[in-house]
């Protein structure tokens, strides 16, 4: 049974058809959710929440869309919500998410230590942690997931300018930790 048929049957009340979609797409959604949240447990919650939302909005699924893309958008939006909740929970200022917010001071170690340590992943993780929810979500979707600005707009409910600004600001933060390493490897 293909995805479109499964959606049609799930709409008609066939839970086994929806089960098929869950079994088919869970791993892809987990991967996306983990990349966006950086936390295994949050990623599990995102997968769960995304399918729950999808189930409740089966009637709104447009048949000309791809089911995988539809689920992907829902999961990306759920992960974005997790990032925003995390920011509120951590007590950071919402204004840091705004376009006029000052750039946080770099906390990354100096070039010498970076070059010696060579732990790119750890430092990139630190850079991701310093990004606002918008920046992190947009950067992950653009850089790791290869999604276009247009697709990110739809997934995160942001306009073109906001997505572009978020990607650019995120790259500046990533650059602070990655730039010293380009000399080390070139």
């Amino acid at each position: 049974m293909d995805d479109a048929t499964a959606v049609a049957q799930a709409r008609a009340g066939d839970s086994e058809a929806f089960r098929l979609l869950v079994e088919r797409h869970s791993r892809a959604l987990f991967k996306l959710a983990y990349r966006m949240t950086g936390n295994e447990h949050d990623a599990e919650d995102v997968v769960q929440e995304a399918f729950l939302k999808a189930y409740r909005s089966l009637d709104r699924f447009e048949e000309r869309s791809l089911v995988g893309s539809w689920l992907y958008r829902i999961a990306a939006n759920c992960a974005f919500d997790v990032l925003r909740r995390r920011q509120r929970r951590d007590g950071r200022l919402e204004s840091l998410d705004g376009e006029d917010a000052p750039e946080p001071q770099a906390e990354a170690p100096g070039p010498d230590r970076l070059a010696l340590g060579g732990d790119v992943r750890r430092h990139l993780d630190a850079a991701l942690e310093r990004m606002s929810p918008r920046e992190r979500a947009a950067f992950v979707l653009r850089h790791f997931e290869g999604r276009s600005v247009k697709e990110i707009e739809v997934a995160l409910g942001m306009d073109t300018t906001a997505v572009k600004q978020s990607v650019c600001r995120a790259v500046r933060k990533a650059r602070e930790v990655l730039l010293p390493l380009t000399g080390a490897v070139s």
Partner: protein, 248 residues
């Protein structure tokens, strides 16, 4: 000559529309072309996060956790032996947990609104429920940890109880996280992993499966941590008792 901005270079790198005439400028400017190459080299260093492995059965496990929330009936072969008795209990347990959590959060969210119960009473009610939940979870863990090694074990009873506890655990964990309770959240997180594993597993464990499960529970001191946090919850519950009695 005005060169391209950093943001223009980022957008060009990702194949997106940059500022006016950005592409034309790039075609004729060696300096900007070199900056774009340097940016590409830098971004090529950004590794994709290592995503924890999820096996082929992951989708099935997601479905098992999702199904109770969708109000989808259990598959027939699972219903016959135990569901008619357990399902109403599971639903009522989850309903109770959800109601408690909702009431607790409502009080936190709108602290100035008139409430039928004071914050202390609401917190105590939640603590009682969490304490009970931890005790029931302990029962599952104790039975698994104390099972004789080297033998197969029928865990249908423990599996059914774990299945009941998973959804409530998830609600309590999320509430604990939102309420800034890191120790409780961490224990509930770890507990949930084990409960999900037991609930989604087979009724009959092979000696190897059982040993692996016991190792997981023991290696992180989960049983001990559940006991400790359970007794702390009970202590807090007692501390709130006198105040709750006077403020309700």
């Amino acid at each position: 000559m005005t060169h391209l901005s950093e943001d223009d270079l980022v957008l060009l790198h990702y194949g997106e529309e940059a500022g006016p005439d950005a592409e034309a400028h790039l075609a004729g400017c060696a300096e900007c072309a070199e900056r774009l190459k340097a940016l590409a080299r830098m971004l090529a260093l950004a590794p994709s996060p290592d995503v924890p492995h999820r096996g082929e059965d992951y989708g099935a496990r997601v479905w098992e956790r999702l199904r109770p929330q969708l109000e989808v009936p259990e598959p027939r072969q699972k219903v016959v032996p135990m569901r008619p008795r357990l399902l109403p209990r599971a639903v009522s347990l989850l309903g109770l947990a959800a109601a408690l959590v909702f009431a607790f959060l409502l009080g936190r969210r709108f602290p100035d609104q008139p409430q039928p119960l004071s914050a202390e009473v609401r917190e105590r009610v939640l603590l009682v429920a969490v304490g009970d939940h931890l005790e029931r979870s302990q029962m599952v863990l104790v039975e698994l940890v104390n099972a004789p090694t080297g033998e197969a074990m029928n865990v249908s009873t423990q599996r059914a109880l774990a299945d009941e506890l998973v959804s409530a655990n998830r609600l309590y964990r999320q509430t604990a996280a939102r309420s800034g309770e890191p120790a409780l959240t961490a224990v509930l997180e770890e507990l949930e992993r084990v409960l999900v594993e037991v609930a989604a597993g087979p009724d009959a464990l092979t000696p190897g499966d059982l040993a692996e499960l016991q190792r997981r529970i023991e290696s992180r001191g989960l049983l001990f941590r559940v006991r400790v946090i359970g007794s702390q919850v009970r202590e807090r519950e007692k501390e709130l008792l006198p105040r709750a009695a006077t403020s309700s």
